[in-house]
Structure formats: C-alpha cells, structure tokens
Assembly symmetry: C2
Homo-oligomer: 197 residues x 2
DNA sequence: CCTACCGATCGGTAGG
DNA sequence: CCTACCGATCGGTAGG
C-alpha cells in the first residue's frame, strides 16, 4: 500500500519536530517519548510512521546533502564565467541552503556522527566529494592567477568552516538576510581583512 | 582530607579517557560503564574519584576556556604593537591552544551544550567575552585603517569559525605543524584569496 | 576499588 | 493511534 497523503504529512511533521529536538538537545539525548509528547501522541504510536529513530536522522542528513549538491552544480554550471565569480556563486548557494532551515542545517552539521555504519561512512564520502568541488574551484582560480594561496585544500576547508558556522548564530528575523550575509562572507573570504574594498 | 598524589593522577586519567570517549561518541552517548571498562575498573568505582559524569565535562570546558583567555591576554599584552600584528599573534595563540589536545578541544567546542544550568549559561558568557576580544581587535584595526570590513562582529565570528574547524581535521602527525597552520590561517584570513602575497 | 543493587528511562513491539 | 509491555541499559549509591 502506498502511504496516504495524511500519513506522508504526519511523517514530515515527525521529521520536523524531531529535527528541532535533535538540534536543541542532541540526537542521543533526545528520547522518542519527548518527541511523541511534543507531537501530542504516545511513544509507541510513532512507529506506525517511522521504522526507527535513526531513520529520521538519516533522512535529514542525506536529504540536505543532496540539496547542497544540486545547489552547487547550478552555481557552477556555466564554465565560461570567471572562476572567482563561480566561487562567489557557490558560496552564495551554500549560504542559501544553509539558512533555509536552521534546525536541519545544525543536525546535518553536528549529528551525522550518530549514524551507524555504513551510513556514516557514506555520509562522510558525500561530504568529501562536496568539499572537493570547492577545492577544485580554488585550484582553478590559483592556476588562472585569479587567486593566491599555498594550499587549495587548506583554503577550501577554511572557507567552508566559516560558512558552516553560520547556523550557530544566524537568526531568520535578524538584521541581515541570507543574500547580504552570503555577499559579506564572499567578500571577506576573497578579499581578506587587509584587502582593499 | 586533601587528595593524595595517587588519587589526583587517577582523576586526571579518568578525565583524559572520558574526554576521548566524549569526543568519539558524544557526551550523552558515552556511558559511565564504557568509561570504567576503558579504565579497567567497575562502574561504581568511578565515584570514589568523581562526583558525577557532568563534573568531568565541566572541568574540561572551563579548563580550556581559561587557557584560551590566558593565551589571548599574553598575545595582546603589548599595546605598542600594530593591531594587525596583535591579531596575527592572537590567531597563532588560539591555534596553539586548539592543537595542544584534540580531544579536549573537540569536547570544548561541541559538548558544552550538555552542561546543565547554570554552568551552561556561564560557559556561553565566557565564550562571548572571548569573542569580544577578537571583535575589539578588528574594530581597532578598522579604526586605524589597517583593516577593512563593514562589520567587525561579523568578521570576528567568521574568523573564529575558520579557526575552530581545525580540531575536526588537524592530525598531530600530519604534514603541517601548529605554527605553520597558524601562519597560513592568519595569512588567508587577513589577505583573502584574491589578495596579493 | 568491588559487589550488589536502586529507580528511572531507553528504543521498540504486539495486539488491537 | 493507544495500551501494555519487553529486555536492556542508564547514572548513581550503600556498604564494605
């Protein structure tokens, strides 16, 4: 039997509520009873919609991973654009995905290590592949003389680190919108604090 | 009674082993029985040396916090030095503390949220105060014309984010030593990818 | 530092 | 989606 619309939306609701709890308390410290209570039902009832606690974590982590890939591919699709511009677009795309749902992003960034094998290894492979995209962009920029750094891999790691800190302080109702944040991050990372504007 | 030398070193040993486990599996997912087994004793025996699981976490988080403060204060003690140089020294000092013990650093960065109140709030206040140090340095640099950024607070957050990603990939036996890493990070953050070397 | 144990809570299931 | 429950495990304690 295919799941009815009602069942599917209940599942989505479970994912969303669980994600918020995972973010606030951590995956391991969140109990299925807390989750059930937050949804207004009994613990056992959750299992008509999901198979396990980890299934939720799996969906969140791998779902956002594929969003990141789709977003990156779109930002860098046009090879005729200067590499520095492609990198700016990739940064902006990354920030947009990251700011779309703070709870999902936080769980993606910090709770993936509670995935059991082989999911954990698969997840890390995806993350590696994504980082390689940025690494290649920077390496191309260095080759074309648009950028300068002694180590593209090192630079890519540092760049993504700055971006991935965002979910820990970004507030959707704050002064800065995603686009303005993305722009400032790109400027700061490409120009540096001592560079001229 | 004051603790004997043997008791004190056993306590240190518990802290170290616990920290390694907290890093690998997360605080909530680490059981006192695992910890006891790793130390070759029974679970109940741990409590002759410590009062609670959280006490260990508390010691690790607040201990490293005070190391960071001491290190920062030393790096910025001489006000006659140019601000950009002070910032470089503060970055290098931060990296040195961060690379001294990878497990302690990882727990400090990611597990503090399992502290119960009021420790959790106190910890966040310390972190805020530390960030303010970098914020002020950048603001001074902007005022003196040595640095350029539209938002010193934003720049400080981004800078610390890049640095704090380090424990997730740094390997003590890798190609780059702490000093070389610190130097490259400082260069990249201050000069940017498009800046000239 | 151990043995023996406490009450509480965990993720998940059976049967309706 | 609920009731009732499973075995396992949790942090921590008493008493030696």
């Amino acid at each position: 039997m295919t799941p009815s619309t009602a069942t599917r939306s209940r599942k989505t609701q479970i994912d969303r509520t669980a994600t918020a709890l995972f973010r606030a308390r951590g995956y391991a410290a969140t109990s299925m009873r807390e989750l059930a209570t937050a949804l207004g039902l009994e613990a056992g009832s959750l299992y008509s919609h999901i198979k396990s606690k980890e299934e939720i974590l799996h969906r969140v982590c791998f779902g956002l991973a594929s969003d990141f890939f789709a977003s990156f591919d779109q930002a860098t699709a046009d090879a005729s654009v200067p590499v520095a511009t492609q990198l700016r677009q990739a940064i902006e795309a990354h920030v947009r995905v990251l700011t779309r749902d703070g709870a999902v992003s936080a769980v993606f960034l910090h709770e993936w290590r509670h995935l059991s094998e082989p999911a954990r290894t698969e997840f890390l492979a995806l993350r590696d592949r994504y980082e390689a995209g940025f690494r290649n962009l920077i390496a191309q920029g260095v080759a074309s003389g648009e950028m300068h750094t002694p180590d593209a891999a090192f630079a890519a790691l540092t760049l993504l680190a700055s971006l991935n800190w965002l979910p820990s302080w970004y507030r959707p109702d704050g002064n800065l919108g995603p686009d303005e944040i993305a722009h400032r991050l790109a400027e700061q990372l490409l120009q540096g604090l001592e560079g001229k504007k």
